[in-house]
């Protein structure tokens, strides 16, 4: 009996220790986890409802313009022409070479073609060129933000107004060109769902520090207006692979040799 008592006593001690080491910390976490799950489930339901009413999916536009099965070279050349004309007028670029296109190379599901060109440019012109290249292939505000920037906005939405997810979803799926032409009204539309200074401050930081600022600047300039006028938006997907800068004759000027990859699906 004493032996059984000792076993039971040990079991008691173990049970009490489990409460102290496991149950108490878990119980402290559970309300927050349950709240988070409920918020996320509501957000998913609202998101699904909104997604059903969305007209024209992003996927269709990606397949037609951004990653087509057969690249539209005329469209690509027209984009480069607009870029060159605009920067030449601003006196930021000179001696733009012909653009050469290499043979296609299969890379997993995608096909790439190397696009090379040379030009002389002021460093402001090179910065604009790189911003235009970074813009290529991006469609929406959400695409222009990094995963980290989107995560921060989502966390603030969860904390402040979980129902505001629909407004955030609408904002992130806004076309970049449309946003750039009237950024204030799109931003105000989102801010109507979130009033706290914390959200406003996070949101302003995102607008100021992300690529959205460059995207707005480019698409709101002469280049953006021409792109809109000639219906060249969105751009095909280009990624700069290699860029070589040689110090030029005048201060701030460089001889630039750039190689990009043009992506397509087949």
């Amino acid at each position: 009996m004493l032996f059984i008592s000792a076993v039971l006593l040990t079991a008691h001690a173990r049970a009490v220790m489990e409460v102290q080491d496991i149950s108490i910390p878990l119980v402290a976490d559970l309300p927050e986890l349950e709240r988070r799950l409920s918020v996320l489930t509501n957000q998913v339901e609202m998101g699904e409802l909104h997604a059903m009413t969305r007209v024209g999916s992003q996927e269709e536009r990606v397949n037609v313009f951004v990653l087509p099965t057969q690249p539209d070279f005329d469209r690509l050349m027209a984009i480069f022409d607009i870029f060159r004309d605009s920067l030449e007028r601003e006196g930021l670029i000179a001696d733009v070479s012909d653009i050469t296109l290499d043979d296609p190379v299969q890379r997993e599901d995608l096909v790439t073609r190397a696009v090379t060109m040379t030009f002389d440019a002021h460093q402001d012109g090179i910065e604009k060129f790189l911003s235009v290249m970074k813009l290529s292939g991006l469609l929406t505000i959400g695409d222009a933000l990094t995963a980290q920037e989107r995560r921060i906005l989502l966390e603030r939405t969860e904390a402040e107004n979980p129902a505001g997810i629909t407004a955030l979803e609408q904002f992130l799926s806004t076309d970049l060109l449309r946003y750039a032409r009237d950024s204030h009204s799109y931003e105000q539309q989102l801010l109507r769902s979130f009033s706290s200074p914390e959200f406003v401050s996070t949101f302003q930081d995102t607008l100021r520090l992300s690529f959205l600022r460059d995207a707005r600047r480019i698409l709101n300039s002469e280049i953006g207006r021409s792109i809109d006028r000639f219906d060249l938006w969105p751009f095909p997907f280009l990624i700069v692979n290699d860029i070589r800068l040689e110090t030029g004759g005048a201060p701030g000027w460089y001889a630039v040799n750039v190689e990009m990859d043009l992506y397509s699906r087949g």
Binding site: V16, L37, E48, V62, I239
Partner: protein
């Protein structure tokens, strides 16, 4: 007083006798202890160690599995929500977009390298490090740049070594291939050290 000797006669306490006398209290103690512990195990302990969560009474083990299941459900819901917020998750398009965002900005690189080049000098002498070309391979995350160290007389190699050390300390530098340290002389007799440096980015 009588001169008699007193002897203390103590009864002999053999182990058997002690066990015989103590067995009953020990039995009673053990029985009471066991009874109390059994009662506690089935009645008191569950009351004290279980909590009602989600409409159910849960002990430590059950709480652990409930916690794990909640965490897993949160991850699934989070993925579903993110997929709704940002369509085309997991596609080639999204992978390419992320690749774009991962690229290190060229002008941040150039500005930082230029900053180091202008700060490395000998006392109050003129600028010593000049960059002539820079090649940035975004695919391989490497930067190659060339230039020369001049205006510092025969100390050009020392200044070049200082420049290399300063570059190594930049936070985006993962690996730096040291240049070939040479000192050459121009027609006018001045010394200079040409260099070619390759940096792998973090």
């Amino acid at each position: 007083m009588s001169n008699s000797t007193k002897t203390n006669k103590r009864p002999s306490h053999s182990f058997g006798a002690i066990a015989q006398r103590g067995s009953m209290p020990l039995f009673i103690f053990s029985a009471v202890l066991l009874g109390t512990l059994t009662f506690s195990w089935y009645s008191l302990l569950p009351e004290l160690t279980t909590v009602e969560v989600g409409g159910e009474l849960r002990d430590a083990k059950s709480l652990k599995s409930y916690h794990a299941s909640l965490t897993a459900q949160i991850l699934v819901a989070q993925e579903q929500r993110n997929a709704l917020i940002l369509p085309m998750e997991g596609t080639a398009f999204r992978a390419l977009t992320e690749k774009k965002h991962m690229q290190f900005p060229l002008f941040t690189l150039r500005t930082e390298i230029e900053r180091v080049a202008t700060t490395v000098r000998v006392e109050e002498s003129k600028r010593a490090v000049y960059l002539s070309s820079m090649q940035y391979s975004l695919e391989f995350a490497t930067v190659d740049f060339s230039g020369s160290v001049r205006n510092v007389g025969p100390r050009s190699m020392t200044v070049l070594a200082q420049f290399v050390e300063e570059l190594r300390s930049l936070n985006f530098v993962d690996e730096l291939k040291s240049p070939r340290f040479t000192r050459e002389q121009k027609e006018d007799g001045s010394f200079y050290s040409p260099f070619h440096i390759q940096i792998s980015l973090q």
